[in-house]
Point group: C2
Chain length 624, copies 2
């Protein structure tokens, strides 16, 4: 139903867009001369510039605007870090294998493809169709056992060989490697950039002079070893993420700047509406937070900023929605999660996750390392607390445990009240307590420590911050922008082009002399210098094709503005400026060109305003 | 001797710089709370901004200035690609292992450390010292066998356990992984970004409309599994590279813009001078190319541009030299290679390689894939060539080899004259020819093809371009910049700071109100808006420390300019602007601040000019 509500774009033919992107090398399959690798893409000059412009705008919109702490962490990640984060155990997909050839299929895709084929098959009975539709609706939440049952029940075979397939086996989606020469230091390529930020929490908090809230951000590569990647840039094995971790007091998730965005209307698809089979609603984000539909101001603030970013770079606002995770798809620790989804020819695609991850990650790394990842919160009034602590007998512990002593003493001092009481009880009842530190067990006797109880006035609380995490998949957004920017000229549908927003366009302006001539070349040089002095990227096309044909080529790669240098230019030192989206042209002095195009790119002036300021130029038809 | 010639900086204490960089989180060891991993570093907010500014300047200086084609390719790389490039077989270090514990040491470092200890030992005889010095001088060129001999001769043991070590075994420095779920698609993390460009040569040439020369560039991560990384950012396992591959006609390596740099003087350390035990010479790059010291204009052009970039970002020109590779350290295919080396407290460090790699890489990938990686060169006059070709009998081949037929026919058409003659001879003499395509053998009979000989007039030659490759290690340059920028205030040597060039400084300007006051806060806001409107990064420090102490903190992180807001500011709407390097201050209107700081950052005005334009402000001493 969501697909039906979305604006129709009946003319969109994906193959035409793909042809353009390949031909003009926006991006293409990696290692193509070696046969290519599924899920890996190389960006050519146009794609690379588009992507880098999108990232630069992201940095301005988020990091600079909000004074975030940007970091750049290692992609190589030791196994125990990802054990703590849960990725080693749970970052898996289920797959089935052809029992004879060993070919692998992602189990849910395997079922989905079969089910869709059966649904299209006229011989399939109405009852079976109902059952299949029910399976498709619930497939995302299926366990491996449930998927096995479906495969057996419908006797699903390999689509390639017709052979049986195995039961679903789990496959970890991280790329494994080892660090160093011994081969026993297991590591992975990070599946997300977030963990690097969590691990640096103490350094970042200190950098922020101990104050909450603050946000850190990272732009970098993530890696996921997808079982069988498809759908172009949508599902890839190596990708650029832009992630923010906003650390906040769990008791106070208000956002200082929320009022600035409260009036913004977003398209929300809440978990309730999904369960009730209802559609999306448009709603002020202020109301959504006030009504508890979105959990808190900070999360709401980032959703609003997300909406603004997506539109800034060229996502069609009518094909953008925020879908709330259902409770069964949300991680157990998460408090709330809203994906920014964009409608493309592949359906609604998750491009951004906006999640309140509570204190899960910091807690997990604390558990694994025994390093406290907490912030201090000044209390409104001091409070008196009962302290129960285990004070080590340093001399005795040092003597008995030698170099391990330091670790044992550190651990003793970190025990909280409950842990001290467990220790005390054990020492009293059994006369001994086994303390585990990093896989080693140390046997503690009563004489090694003293249990002390006293009252203390404290002025600060230690709190584990909650984390609000907006996580952007730049490649997916880039693909959505390309689809939403793809146009065909009316009346000449072979002539396709990209109406990219000037701020993200790889090249801002073309310069086309009407013919090869020394006098024109001088004007071309003057225009080029004008543009360069305003730091505008440009492309001179002085090839011999007709102006119309040359504009068709620059339109294809999304160059928004074009300058024609003709013989009039030599007389008046003026040129025409053309806007690709409308093909309208105006006439202006060469000295006006730099500042006008710069203002158009920055969005401080609209094309309509330009047409009011400068005389319209009636060009001959651009048809070849 | 080179170290002696370099300017002395006796006061430099590396530990003080390291303390600053750690304390203010420029960068620090990755995964520290998990015990850390050698050779992996995380960049904090200051390091990240410094690095990103350096990269942005690199992009401007090279990619934009020269209209290079920027690409972004996959880091995950299939094994056969790196087999072709030679990395699978030859990208190795030799290591020795403790025979009992298995601990690994890089063999050359193992020998070097032992030799240096022996040289310092008073008991070592003069003869042995001579021998050790000779070994150290030649160690870089030693084979594993020669290193084994040294280890046995001097009976070198593990420095940790005193145990014997094994013979040197090779260790490949690439991180291995697998792509996809089957486990049999072997891959590595790329050890350099260059291969991605070579593999895309055809697409890039086409993008450039078939014309030579052109340059492509890539900024991205490289990975090397060092055996035992040391020396901070100098030797790391994950790093950012900026690489250029300039494709040029092997017969014509002139560079169109060479005359623009020909007068630039570089410090050259030629292979001859190294062999003759002579020092460096300062020389116009124009002369160096004319005299054949540097092989060609294109290589010379990039060396000059390299020199300019290094100085632009803050490398001390007196601690920068270009060292030519000796013939024994240069790859066999390379024509010439000059490393830009920078003198640091670790000695002369290679930061950039400028190499003429001839046509090696394109040739290798052609051999592996059978895809021709060539450009067409228009001949000055048409020439007549004798063609010998094998024309397949398509019908028969299709019938006989079915789906393999297409491949066989393609291969036949690709054969060059010599290959056709080998084929012809075999068919004549043995009546059969075994053609190998991708591990498969196809038996060809005479009736499957016809050998044709004829004359043809050709207007273009196919040529395999030569590649000039400048390759920048950004982390190393960044570290060198930090060392060269490190200062201690005269008379107060505890007060250390970074005199970073304004163009790379992470934060351009600080704003310090002299005390907490609502009226001052309004001026602070006005100054902030001024700076933001000029896109200048800033930091407001309204904490309660003395101005001197606060400036000491901003000086530490290399903020070049500081603005003090005092009670006079409220009256006159003016502020003082301070230059950290000299601690001089001038007084100016708030409305002048933005454009002045922007001009200082862009380098369009010097500080001296600012002091002439605005009145000097006599501040009280900054001593606390």
């Amino acid at each position: 139903t969501e697909l039906e509500l979305a604006p129709k774009d009946a003319k969109f033919e994906r193959s035409k867009l793909e042809d353009l992107l390949k031909r003009r090398f926006f991006y293409d399959q990696s290692f193509a001369i070696y046969g290519g690798v599924a899920g890996l893409y190389d960006y050519g000059p146009m794609g690379c510039a588009l992507k880098s412009n999108m990232i630069q705008l992201w940095r301005k919109h988020f990091i600079l605007e909000e004074n975030m702490l940007e970091v750049e962490c290692s992609a190589l990640t030791p196994e125990n870090v990802l054990k703590a984060s849960g990725h080693v155990d749970r970052f898996i997909d289920w797959m089935v294998k052809d029992v004879k050839t060993g070919e692998c299929f992602r189990a849910d895709h395997f079922i989905k493809n079969h089910a869709e084929a059966l649904l299209k098959n006229a011989k399939t009975s109405a009852d079976v169709k109902n059952e299949l539709n029910d399976i498709l609706a619930r497939l995302d939440g299926y366990s491996n056992k449930e998927m096995d049952d479906v495969i057996r029940k419908f006797n699903l075979k390999s689509p390639i060989t017709g052979n049986d397939v195995t039961e679903a086996v789990s496959f970890n989606l991280m790329f494994p490697t080892q660090i160093g020469p011994t081969g026993d230091f297991r590591a992975y390529l990070r599946p997300e950039t977030a963990q690097g930020i969590f691990i640096n929490f103490k350094r970042l908090l200190e950098f922020n002079q101990g104050k909450l809230p603050f946000a850190a951000a990272q732009i970098g590569a993530g890696f996921r070893n997808e079982i069988s990647p498809r759908q172009g840039l949508i599902r890839v094995r190596e990708f650029t993420m832009c992630e923010i971790e906003h650390f906040v007091d769990p008791q106070d998730k208000a956002h200082q700047k929320f009022s600035k965005v409260a009036d913004l209307e977003l398209t929300l698809f809440s978990a309730c509406n999904q369960m009730d089979g209802k559609g999306t609603v448009r709603m002020r984000i202020g109301d959504a937070v006030a009504q508890g539909i979105v959990d808190n101001e900070t999360l709401g603030y980032y959703m609003a900023r997300c909406h603004l970013y997506m539109i800034l770079v060229g996502v069609d606002p009518n094909r953008l929605r925020f879908r709330q995770h259902m409770s069964n798809e949300m991680a157990h620790y998460a408090k709330d999660c809203w994906d920014a989804e964009v409608l493309t020819s592949y359906g609604w695609i998750e491009c951004v996750g906006n999640a309140d991850r509570a204190c899960y990650d910091l807690d997990q790394h604390y558990k694994m390392t025994n390093v406290k990842l907490v912030a201090e919160k000044t209390l409104s009034q001091p409070k008196i607390v009962q302290v129960t602590e285990a004070v080590p007998n340093k001399a005795l512990i040092g003597k008995l445990f030698k170099s391990d002593g330091k670790q044992i003493m550190a651990r003793l001092q970190e025990l909280n009240k409950e842990e001290v009481e467990v220790l005390e009880k054990a020492l009293k009842e059994k006369g001994t307590f086994d303390m585990a530190i990093n896989d080693k067990i140390f046997e503690l006797k009563p004489e090694l420590l003293e249990i002390k109880r006293y009252e203390k006035t404290v002025h600060v609380d230690e709190i584990v911050p909650s984390v609000i995490e907006p996580s952007y998949g730049i490649g997916r957004i880039l693909y959505a922008v390309l689809e939403h920017s793809f146009r065909q000229r009316e009346g000449d549908e072979q002539r396709t082009f990209l109406e990219l927003k000037p701020n993200v366009a790889p090249i801002k302006c073309s310069i086309l002399p009407i013919s090869v001539d020394e006098k024109l070349a001088q004007i071309v040089d003057a225009v080029r210098e004008e543009l360069v002095s305003h730091e505008l990227s440009l492309k001179v096309d002085d090839s011999s094709g007709s102006i119309g044909r040359r504009y068709a080529r620059t339109d294809e790669i999304g160059i928004p503005f074009g300058i024609t240098v003709d013989f009039e230019s030599v007389k008046n030192i003026d040129v025409t400026l053309r806007y690709a989206a409308t093909m309208q042209q105006v006439r202006m002095k060469v000295t006006d060109v730099g500042k006008t195009v710069e203002a158009l790119v920055k969005g401080t002036i609209t094309w309509d305003e330009v047409t009011e300021k400068f005389p319209i130029f009636q060009a001959k038809s651009e048809a070849n």
